[in-house]
């Protein structure tokens, strides 16, 4: 009973954290929804850990808890890969921005040099 209390409370605190982050717009919706979806599955499991025992038996896994552990690790790995992918995309975007910025700065310098030359030949 104690254990159920601990796992259940952990799940609820996580849920509250995600909702609060979404409410303050600290988390983009696409990530927030992902974690909310995860919690919708995790909270019932934290309250009733034996829920997956039947599925576990079907797959040849000794207990439902082991199955949850295994699926959890696979899921976290996928999340990490996804984040690396997002970071790669972001780096490509910032790279393009940096290039645009450098090109614009070069153009401004060139214009300024041309103007200065015009002024010095006029005056």
């Amino acid at each position: 009973m104690k254990l159920t209390l601990v796992t259940g409370l952990t799940g609820l605190i996580l849920l509250a954290t995600i909702i609060e982050l979404l409410r303050r717009r600290q988390l983009r919706e696409k990530y927030g929804m992902l974690w909310l979806g995860v919690l919708v599955i995790v909270i019932p499991l934290s309250l009733f850990p034996r829920l997956l025992d039947n599925v576990a038996e079907l797959l040849g896994v000794a207990s439902g808890v082991s199955l949850v552990l295994f699926l959890g690790i696979v899921f976290l790995l996928l999340v990490c890969v996804h984040l690396s992918w997002e970071v790669s995309a972001l780096e490509e975007e910032t790279r393009t921005l940096a290039e645009d910025f450098a090109l614009l700065r070069a153009q401004i310098e060139a214009d300024k040099a041309a103007r200065d030359e015009l002024v010095s030949t006029d005056g």
Binding site: R95, F101, A102, A106, E109
Partner: protein
């Protein structure tokens, strides 16, 4: 202008304030009428200011992107300003600008020319894992490009309009991607690549690394980059 072609010399530079003025000065002295663009790849020293004072156009990146990032910026500049030929030259002074007209000549029948260090002219040698990496790269890339390439990581290259257009929109920023992967990509799209033997000089400033551990890492990375480039489309 080199042989009637609007030519841009692109020099990617990272903290090269010691040599950049001499390199820019020499290029402008040897090749009057070409434009020089120094791409300052986020230097923390006065590279950009020194290059501008020496008469180069300067594009200063806000932070370090690596040679590949600096070069795509250079090719974008070349495309936007309508150059016929873009030539990449290292900022350390090891490339002799007197070879530039030769490279531009070769572009008549080819799309990308590489100034190669081991092709008979001048003396330049490496040993150990670095040498194995170079042998592996040239063997594989020569096959892919259907031409003899002995110095695939050379930073002395000339590109015509078609290749400038391609590089302006696609140029990897990863380590070795700027040399190895661009060659695979260019060859696979049917562009003609050729190499020209050039003599290399000692660097004007800075020192090359000689650590064996670094050389082994280099070999590993070269192998990984090459394999990835070959299985990419």
């Amino acid at each position: 202008m080199v042989n009637g072609k609007r030519t841009l010399i692109i020099i990617p530079a990272l903290n090269e304030s010691g040599s950049i003025a001499d390199v820019v000065g020499e290029v402008r002295g040897e090749l009057p009428g070409v434009d020089v663009l120094v791409v300052d790849d986020g230097s923390t020293d006065r590279t950009a200011a020194v290059a501008a004072a020496a008469g180069a156009r300067v594009a200063k990146l806000p932070y370090n992107l690596g040679v590949g990032g600096a070069m795509r910026l250079g090719y974008r500049y070349a495309r936007d300003h309508d150059y016929d030929v873009a030539i990449q030259v290292d900022a350390d002074g090891q490339h002799d600008p007197r070879y530039v007209p030769k490279l531009v000549d070769m572009l008549e029948d080819n799309d990308l020319i590489i100034g190669a260090r081991f092709a008979g002219e001048g003396d330049y040698s490496v040993r150990g894992p670095r040498r194995w990496a170079m042998v592996m790269l040239s063997a594989v890339l020569s096959r892919v490009a259907r031409t003899k390439l002995t110095d695939t990581t050379s930073g002395f290259r000339a590109a015509n309009r078609r290749v400038i257009e391609m590089f302006a929109s696609w140029y990897p920023a990863e380590y070795l991607g700027d040399t190895v992967e661009t060659l695979v990509h260019t060859a696979r799209r049917g562009y003609r690549i050729r190499q020209v033997p050039v003599a290399m000089r000692k660097r004007m400033a800075g020192t090359p690394s000689h650590s064996p551990a670094k050389a082994m890492i280099y070999l590993g990375r070269a192998f990984a980059v090459l394999t990835l480039a070959l299985i990419r489309r």
